[in-house]
Amino acid sequence: MISNQPEMIAAIAGTMRSTVSRRRLLQAAGIGGAAMAVAACGGTGGSDASGDASGAPSAAAAEDLSDTDKALFWSNWPLYIDIDDDSGERPSLDRFMADTGITVTYNEDVNDNSEFYAKVRTQLEQGQEIGRDIVTLTDWMAGLWIQNGFVQKLDKANIPNFSNMISSYLDVAFDPGREYSMPWQSGFGAFGWNKSQLSDAIGTDALVSVDQLFDPKLKGKISVLSEMRDTMGILLAWLGYDPSNFTDDQFSEAIEALTLQVDNGQIRQVAGNDYVAAMESGDVTAVIGWSGDMFQLGDAFGVALPESGGTLWTDNMMIPALASHKKNAELIMNYYYDPAVAAEVAAYVQYISPVQGAQEAMADIDPALVDNQWIFPDSATLANSYVFMPLTDAQDVEYQRAFQKAIGN
């Protein structure tokens, strides 16, 4: 949320849609090359390309330099790949580089879906390369990119391990058959809490229901996620509705419930990744947060799905339009769908692996994790979690407005 200034500037520039006239204006003013480079718009645009049979516009492909230029640029979320805690290196990534000779520039520069989109939107709309060969975005944002033609179709001939994808991931509403995207990791929107603080406040060190979360004894000690889908999904399920299929009225009811808890001071803050620090310092006792984060906090903290249900989301790898190392990107996707490699990543990040066979491979890495419900959830756990209903653009904006208004924006 904070490092937004450059993105906002980019967004301002991006809203100037009549780029051609601006370019003429600059030429008329006789302003030199540097300014032109700032303002120039690419001639061929991904969004200009004609639509394909499936209805989604297909993105323009650039000349693939993969064979001559052994490079790859990947944008992912922080702390989302295996890291050797002693050396700070990334073992699985280093092995890929050694095996293939491809130099991977791995950037942890996705902190928030909307923020990342704001940062690259201008180039995408003007049909320019965004300097990344893989981006990793959550379902709904991935859907937006696919719908707008900002990503390239995967060449599955380069990805033999594609068949290792757990079948339930294959047919998602935003990308039927996974033509454009491959899941990286999934996770839950769930409860997290400080055990000793919770038992001091309400006499139990297990948080099971949203009613407990809204117990007045926890007033001012609660944090919920600024990601609308996770917070609202859990509230919808608590009210007895299905977060995968709900009506406007049901959503409004959940918004009212949230507004009440914000206005009476029960909810202290609405945060992105920040809530982890607030848990560590003891400023908040219980949160609606993300499952993987809780494990990094240690044994003093608990994590559980609400008994009424949690949310389930997936982050997806995609190749942006005009990315110039498409084949390299497909090769690394293939590499991470090798069960042994997938297990190695999951053992570190403790999110759900989408790769069939990773659970068996985990036995060699850390047998204690084989039955970990947060990495390899069984059907009972999955039955108690919901994928948020796919929204149209207009719905998304309408729901976002209601949500942001409830949280003071």
Partner: protein, 297 residues
């Protein structure tokens, strides 16, 4: 400046005057180009964006239009955040003045050989990132921190906490912009002629009268510059409200950010930015007129 000098010497035009005045304009070019590219064009873009209308059926896309209602919509929706921004920035500016004046006075008049060191100390925190310093305040004001524990023992905190309250936001604003208050005040007080104070004492003014009649009026340019340099960025700030505030403390900067990033509603965000600029300009003009120091600033 060059232009001004050349024009003043103009009763008897020297042979080189014409050329010199052109040199003046020439020297202005880089500055004007800079202003044009990085200020005028973006402002014009922003203004045009603020009047755009949404494209039917394509969310997040806007076409050029003349939709003045964007401004009305924005003010109806966000007037509480506007008021709050000016209130918080106003309180922070006042607090900064109260804290900075004695400090600047001490550095300028009493510090002697420590003067440079003290000035460096005032500026030194700015060497660390603004963001990091604000994060540090979260630790300082955390619920279990000594500060909060101490104040809670005295039962002076309404919510039994500081972090995520308006107190924290105002404290953060005051802290972050304090150097902008200290430095202009120091510059004004440092030029203060000590003989004027002596004269005032000789004429039987007590210290309070001396301050009211001599020191304060002479430091006014510093006060005006300092309050403006503090108030303007504080009113537009969103980081303090984001990191130190609660959901009840959102300022106009947060509203602009939410509209840009989450709603992808660029016209409303631009309209808000424009109104913030306009409101600040009006306030500044009113203030300068009242202070009667146009020629001093």
């Amino acid at each position: 400046m060059v232009v001004g000098v050349a024009a003043k010497g103009g009763t008897s035009i020297a042979p080189g005057a014409q050329r010199r005045s052109r040199t003046g304009y020439f020297l202005l070019l880089p500055g004007m180009a800079w202003l044009g590219i990085f200020f005028a064009i973006p402002i014009a873009t922003l203004f045009m964006t603020s009047l755009q209308a949404p494209v039917e059926g394509a969310s997040g896309q806007y076409a050029p239009a003349f939709q003045v209602s964007n401004y009305a919509d924005a003010i109806i929706e966000y007037w509480p955040q506007f008021l709050r921004s000016f209130l918080y920035a106003g309180i922070a500016t006042l607090l900064a003045l109260v804290i900075a004046y004695p400090l600047a006075y001490f550095i300028a008049v009493k510090a002697g050989r420590w003067r440079t060191l003290m000035l460096v100390l005032v500026i030194a925190p700015s060497f660390a990132s603004f963001l990091l310093r604000t994060y540090a305040w979260r630790t300082i004001l955390a619920d279990e921190s000594p500060v909060t524990t101490f104040l809670n023992a005295l039962h002076v905190l309404p919510d039994d906490r500081i972090l995520n309250t308006s107190i924290a936001v105002i404290a953060g604003l005051t802290y972050n912009f304090l150097p902008f208050m200290v430095l202009p005040l120091y510059a004004a007080l440092e030029r203060l002629d000590p003989r004027l104070i002596e004269a005032s004492n000789d004429l039987y003014a007590n210290p309070i009268t001396t301050f009211r009649k001599v020191t304060w009026p002479l430091s006014l340019p510093g006060v005006v510059a300092g309050t403006l340099l503090t108030f303007i960025p504080a009113a537009g700030d969103y980081i303090n409200a984001e990191l130190l505030g609660s959901t009840q403390d959102r300022m106009i900067g947060n509203a602009i950010q939410t509209n840009f990033i989450d709603f992808r509603d660029y016209p409303i965000a631009s309209a808000l930015s424009f109104m913030l600029m306009a409101a600040i300009l009006v306030l500044v003009f009113a203030y300068i007129r009242r202070a009667g120091t146009e020629d001093l600033v």
